[in-house]
Symmetry: C2
Subunit: 85 residues, 2 copies
């Protein structure tokens, strides 16, 4: 089976996000006044072959833990979509 994994990685709530603050300032300077809580993160899209959903799930989780996210300061979420043709 072929899965499309969509992974969102962002700084934990307790970690300061200077990039998000810069985007917030930039948007306000452009006239977007009614905004708050801007956070910037990474977004990774991966296609993988796996025998079933649970093994795909375990594999994506391992990818995030080992390489994609720095779990000390970042949290991640992902969705898995079956794209077997």
């Amino acid at each position: 089976m072929k899965f499309q994994a969509t992974i969102q990685i962002m700084l934990k709530e307790s970690v300061n996000d200077p990039q998000g603050n810069a985007v917030l300032s930039g948007l306000k300077a452009l006239g977007f006044e009614n905004i708050e809580n801007v956070r910037v993160g990474k977004f990774v899209s991966v296609q993988l072959q796996a025998t079933d959903r649970s093994s795909a799930d375990a594999e994506v989780n391992a990818m995030c833990e080992k390489l994609l996210a720095n779990t000390v300061i970042e949290s991640f979420t992902y969705t898995l979509e079956d794209v077997t043709t």
Copy 2:
């Protein structure tokens, strides 16, 4: 009304993604063999006040066009969630 916008910005399919290729190589080097098509993008989370969903939608679209995405090489998608308390 208060909305939570979740914006995904990624390079267009036709644009080379060296960061995605680097992540693909890194994951393969770690033993994840059954993967392909890795693309890396940005992910921006914004909370905004708006009178209704359509004005929130227009505002988020304008933010992406004006600041967040470089629409020459990047495409964006977003979801809007009503988080009025």
